[in-house]
Homo-oligomer: 326 residues x 2
């Protein structure tokens, strides 16, 4: 267990990696219908900004999800990736997410030698860890770096988390992610969770990542607090773009990190030239009262997403219904 | 020095006080031009929500500020306050703010026996502490509870802060406030500042308060982190309404605090019936990229306020100008 914070407010740690998840988590807002120009500009900006990984989307099963219902980044086919990145002649690595139970991984995840993808992040709930481990073993054998991202951790109890970390610890996964899907975790709790994960990380020689949601305006705070404990893979999205209340914003993180390799300016360009137009087109994400309330109540944001789409402002009724439902 | 956090995530501390500063800090956005209906509804909602203090505005000098340029809450005349609260037959206390150098306190702050005001908060920069102490002595002699709020503390050095706390410690002020005017302070720094203030508080028998700004989406995080160290007076505003990026939102705080006296529902009503219309009228506050950048650079938000009013989205140019200016 890490008893003291790692690093200081002025120095930096060489193990830190910034992971841009704008297209993957932001794609949940617009069904992955980004223009190629958006993706190309973001790819170039991330490289210039010193971002370490860019997650392009999901490797979703086309048996489960009809291709015509989504933009290409729901599936991240090799040909679509290469249309943007070519052979990815850069220091930035390419990541994709694979959901347990919703990925045809034996068919869609090809040999690393034939792919521009570097990292496969396997997303799982705590009750499907063995399936996640199976996927990680498969991807590992294919030559990929892998992580297991345990979602919705705020609704799990400590002993289950301990067991999950033990199971994942024995897998070939390179990293384990703390995922606050509901945006329900407070910094005090995040520090304790980080210490728990880091304890497993030390034992099993893994790194720990964090993916935070902004329901209570705590995504950035929770990310830098986890960082201060020793968590090293930091998920961000430009303008916090992501499902519901969104994520930790790239521009907050890049302005905070002290490693001179990071540069906020290319992200400011993306905000001006890509995000402002996207918002003007009516694509909606970010902190709002319904998300705050599901976060406070440690619930899935689906009711809040529906309320926000309907532009509901009857917050009292919304809250009372949430409490009843609970 | 408080070495460990006070309180836990499930219990509550009886010394905590929630201070609603919506009208005072929010008034900086609309020149204090709230309708009486807004103020009355907010007053009633705060009482129902269990809020401990409501700050109605400034006691600004009418010699310096022409009355016709502002709504009544720039001046908080006794007759205006009483039009809203009568004799304030409630458990909630009434606060006003008095700025050093901009208050005609010997004329405008009358005997407590003749006033519905309970608390006078004296706002000062660190280089005018003796003037703040003089005001506090005056108000104390008139019968008021008082605080000294040291603004823009993120640009002061530790030894100056130590001396300021020593000077204020010897004054009759009941409380001392940490004020992050620039929204520049990170939770790790806030915890250290809180410990420093609390050390003085213990020595001189004062309470410590916090007033946070949301430039980096850290107002709520910094407030609950300061709370966890022992800070007890917590400034909030409905919807975070306040200058620039605004403040710690009442609805975030009331959903977090575990004391059953606090109730979020009346604040949800205010959000629906008062804040949504205010925003629709074009009153603007809250997190935005220019505020983020002044916060990151530890600068006064005045340039960001101007940029936001002009709806500027040329963030790179704005940033480069900020860095040049610095």
């Amino acid at each position: 267990m890490t008893a003291k914070s790692k690093g200081t407010i002025l120095s930096y740690r060489r193990d830190v990696r910034v992971v841009d998840a704008t297209v993957r988590d932001g794609g949940l807002v617009n069904d992955f219908r980004f223009t190629d120009e958006f993706i190309k500009n973001l790819y170039r900006a991330n490289i210039k900004a010193g971002v370490d990984y860019m997650e392009f989307g999901y490797k979703a099963s086309r048996d489960i999800f009809p291709e015509e219902d989504f933009g290409p980044w729901k599936f991240c086919k090799e040909e679509d990736l290469r249309r943007i990145v070519g052979d990815n002649d850069s220091d930035m690595k390419i990541a994709v997410m694979a959901d347990v139970g919703r990925t045809d991984f034996r068919h869609d995840i090809i040999d690393k030698n034939d792919s521009v993808i570097d990292l496969v992040r396997v997303a799982t709930y705590i009750n499907t860890i063995p399936a996640a481990v199976e996927m990680v073993e498969y991807c590992h054998d294919k030559g990929y770096e892998t992580t297991i991202n345990i979602m919705a951790i705020s609704s799990d109890n400590d002993s289950d988390i301990d067991e999950a970390l033990h199971l994942i610890g024995q897998s070939p996964a390179n990293g384990i992610y703390i995922v606050d899907s509901y945006g329900a975790i407070y910094p005090e709790q995040m520090r304790k969770l980080a210490d728990k994960y880091l304890s497993a990380a030390e034992k099993y020689n893994k790194y720990i990542g964090i993916h935070a949601h902004n329901n209570q305006q705590l995504a950035f705070a929770n990310t830098i607090e986890a960082l201060s404990r020793g968590v090293s893979y930091l998920d961000v999205t430009v303008s916090g773009m992501g499902r519901g209340a969104g994520n930790c914003a790239s521009e907050l993180m890049l302005g905070f990190l002290k490693n001179p390799k990071y540069n906020i300016l290319p992200i400011l360009d993306i905000l001006e030239h890509e995000i402002v137009p996207l918002k003007e087109q009516g694509v909606i994400w970010g902190y709002d009262i319904p998300y705050l309330l599901t976060g406070q109540l440690n619930q899935h944001p689906r009711t809040a997403i529906a309320a926000t789409k309907e532009h509901r402002t009857d917050y009292r009724k919304f809250y009372v219904d949430l409490v009843d439902y609970k």
